[in-house]
């Protein structure tokens, strides 16, 4: 199983989601182990202006430290970072964040593709990326890069996702993707711990 293949190798977990992904996050977070020893980075599409909302919702459901990603922040294990609304989130070689206010990609800013691709170049085969429910194709190209550079691709089961389009696109394009129901994701993530 892929879980055992990458056990202890994960240096960063990135979760991307759009419409219908909040429910999944709210399901995953209460079951996450306190021993998570890699950073978890969340890139979700949402309206600007209610940045604090997602942080607050997640903070009440986990002991892990939850913060909005700030530019030049050092990316630390055991921390959860949320991409701020209206900026693309990139990862530098020295494992710090950069923000970018350039054109929207797939009508989205933050774009999941941008973060997946930039993380893949830094973490290579020690990266795990998860794509959740959504109704556009953002994230799919990024997952391809992650897969090409040896990282692990996880896709929410389109049949049980609230919005199947985004995960279905991913399933169609990345044969190596591991397909999971929302209810199995926390366990999968906990198993990545060293």
């Amino acid at each position: 199983m892929a879980e055992t293949l990458i056990k202890g190798k994960c240096e960063a977990l990135i979760i991307g989601g759009s419409a219908g992904s909040l429910d999944v996050l709210l399901e995953i977070f209460p079951s996450l182990s306190d021993n998570i020893n890699f950073p978890i980075i969340l890139v979700t599409h949402r309206k600007s202006g209610n940045d604090a909302l997602l942080s607050d919702l997640l903070r009440s459901r986990t002991k892990l430290k939850v913060n909005e990603a700030e530019e030049k922040d050092k990316i630390l294990p055991g921390h959860v970072y949320i991409a701020p609304a209206d900026y693309h989130l990139l990862i530098e070689d020295d494992e710090t964040f950069s923000l970018d206010y350039s054109e929207k990609i797939n009508y989205s800013r933050p774009s999941i593709d941008v973060t997946f691709q930039s993380a893949a170049e830094v973490f290579g085969d020690k990266l795990v990326c998860v794509l959740l429910s959504g109704s556009n194709a953002d994230g799919v190209a990024g997952l391809k890069t992650v897969n090409d550079l040896g990282g692990i691709v996880v896709i929410q089961n389109p049949n049980t996702a609230i919005m199947s389009y985004m995960p279905q696109q991913a399933v169609n394009h990345i044969k190596a993707g591991i397909i999971l129901d929302a209810s199995d994701m926390a366990e999968f993530i906990n198993k990545l711990v060293k």
């Binding site: 700030e70 206010y101 350039s102 054109e103």
Partner: protein, 272 residues
């Protein structure tokens, strides 16, 4: 995706060429985003090889113009972050209004949306007649657009909403005339604006200001370069003057930040 094929070394060589051949120093920009811009342009313009791309950038003046336009991110909005403009309107500009003359520097002004927003607030506070806005950018093409004050009509609805949220008191449409695709802003708004190229990396201080606005530019710079630019702003700011940054930028980690006091919760600092 061709991104895997181009490594950091190639990017650095290209940027060294740019510095040597054209005098623009991008070496201290945040690496991940400039790399992304470069790879995007390389893919967009269908070069046969990165070597050919490098050669063209180095030797072709016309193409370098395009390079500069595409590498710098020029996305901007009017009244972006309405709460920021509310703070300018309520907390900053009224204080500056007690001075006989107000000099403002909008650094990294892009196509001018910020400068026109500021001009509108100054008008509504009755301070416009004694203000001067210096709007600068590294990219000459955006300044040409900024001078015109003509913005795509489809954005105006959003701008108008931002304006209202920021505490605007007029009918926003009274500031422009619209045709089918564009809105041209009232020519009197640009009468108090001076547009000029200025490179924050290599150019010096050129005046003393009571307010410097530099928003969403520093996110593209690495920490050392950010600190150099803060020093440049410090040299260009009067005592008790204000420095305004973008919503995700901060003065906090700069060694001289103690000499500044934050204005409420917005990204505005006052020099003590």
């Amino acid at each position: 995706m061709i991104s895997e094929a181009i490594d950091n070394e190639q990017i650095e060589m290209l940027l060294s060429d740019v510095l040597e051949a054209h005098g623009y120093d991008f070496l201290e920009y945040s690496h991940a985003s400039i790399k992304r811009r470069i790879i995007r342009l390389y893919a967009l313009d269908n070069f046969v090889s990165f070597a050919e791309f490098r050669y063209t950038v180095r030797t072709d003046k016309q193409y370098f113009k395009r390079f500069l336009e595409e590498i710098t991110v020029n996305v901007t909005e009017m009244f972006r972050d309405p709460n920021f403009y509310k703070a300018l309107r309520n907390d900053v500009l009224p204080v500056l209004g007690t001075y006989p003359f107000i000099r403002i520097w909008v650094a990294g002004c892009s196509t001018g949306e910020e400068a026109y927003s500021l001009a509108i607030v100054l008008k509504e506070l009755n301070l416009f007649h004694k203000s001067l806005i210096y709007a600068t950018d590294i990219n000459p093409s955006v300044l040409e657009k900024a001078k015109q004050g003509i913005f795509p009509l489809n954005y105006l609805k959003g701008y108008s909403e931002n304006y209202v949220k920021s505490g605007g008191i007029q009918d926003f449409s009274s500031y422009y005339t619209a045709n089918y695709s564009h809105a041209k802003f009232d020519g009197t708004l640009s009468e108090k604006m001076i547009f000029s190229t200025h490179n924050l990396v290599s150019d010096h201080s050129f005046n003393e200001f009571q307010l410097i606005m530099c928003r969403n530019v520093l996110i593209y710079f690495d920490k050392d370069l950010q600190h150099k630019v803060f020093q440049l702003f410090d040299n260009s700011l009067e005592k008790l003057g204000y420095l305004a940054l973008g919503s995700k930028e901060s003065l906090d980690f700069w060694e001289r930040s103690k000499a500044y006091k934050r204005v409420k919760t917005e990204k505005i600092w006052r020099k003590l």
